[in-house]
Amino acid sequence: MGGNRLRRARSLVLATGLVAASSACAHGGFEGVGTFYAGLLHPLAVSAHLVALVAVGVFCGQRGWAFVVDSLPTVAAATMIGLALARPETEPVAGPLLLVAAGFTGLAVALELKLPATAAAIWVALVGGVIGVDSPTDLATGSAERWIALGGTSLGVLLLFAWCATPVARINAAWQRIGIRVVGSWLSAGAVLSLVLVATGRGA
């Protein structure tokens, strides 16, 4: 049963990636790519988003494969809600908030914290939502292009989350679990330092 779920999830991730490759529109935040692709690549382009997603992916992976699969719709929905609410005015608050979330998530990974499932799911949703809120676009509200961009970003967030969570969910050996905890401490340390930089006006 576990193997079938894994294969289905893999197929879904691969299929959506292949579908995404066929879209091409006029405008994008990245030169030379379409709006959908620009949205898809967005989580890779913003360091705080990348770190937060890696941290939350590893956090979910530590809880096991079942939790990762159950978190996929949570991450997707929360990100889309956050994206719908995103405005340029929310960026100054959402950015530092995301670093705080990444710091705490990395710390939870380092400590191998076993939160109750509901609390963990709420935390994952919050992180996804903040990533969304921190991703405003200057495309016209209600325009088809805006929805395409937001769709691409949602998918990019989901793929990156799944990409990070999947190998962690499959580990069994003690040395691998320790390695993941070390990675968690690195992520937390990086987020804390970046937060201090932002607070002192030296960071983006």
């Binding site: 913003v46 670093l99 320790i178 937390s188 340390a189 990086g190 330092l193 201090v196």
Partner: protein, 202 residues
Amino acid sequence: MLSDARFRWLGGVLIALLTVVAGDPASAHEATGTAAGGFASGFMHPLLGPDHLIAMIAVGLWGAVLGAPALWILPIAFPLVMAFGGALGVAGVPLPGVEVGIAVSALVLGLAVAAAARPPIWIAALIVAAFAVLHGHAHGVELPDSASPLAYSLGFVTATGLLHLAGIGIASAYGKPAGRVVVRVVGAGIALAGLVFLIGRS
């Protein structure tokens, strides 16, 4: 040789790490700076400072000498404590004698390895934590303004962790009598280098 399952797992982890390292927002977000350049700059910082480098290897060596649970507690806790020191450095909070303290860290940790010292873990943790704050402070103060700050932070934290791992790797032979001698000689070498740095800064 790696089994298929372990190979796939390592491949996934490497791809994930490469994703983090290779993210280059140069065309998209001016605010984030050049993440790849910031990560590389941060990564090189501990490697280009011989005092940082040998002290971090000594942390890994001493962790192996102390054995479990220090062996894995140190690599997990060190980056977090170092980040605290780094935050102080970034915030401009002065700490007295940071450079001297970094030289002392190489001397003390090298001596601890050379002597195969195995104090209670809380004492070892306090010693390492104190040095972690100093090392972090030095990295934080020297943070270049132009780099992507988060990428830079991740870079030097990652490099520090890999140096610990190198120390642990060197000390993996500690179980054998000949390996124990090698590890202690390496520790003595680190202590000597630390003494040279200390004399140079006095």
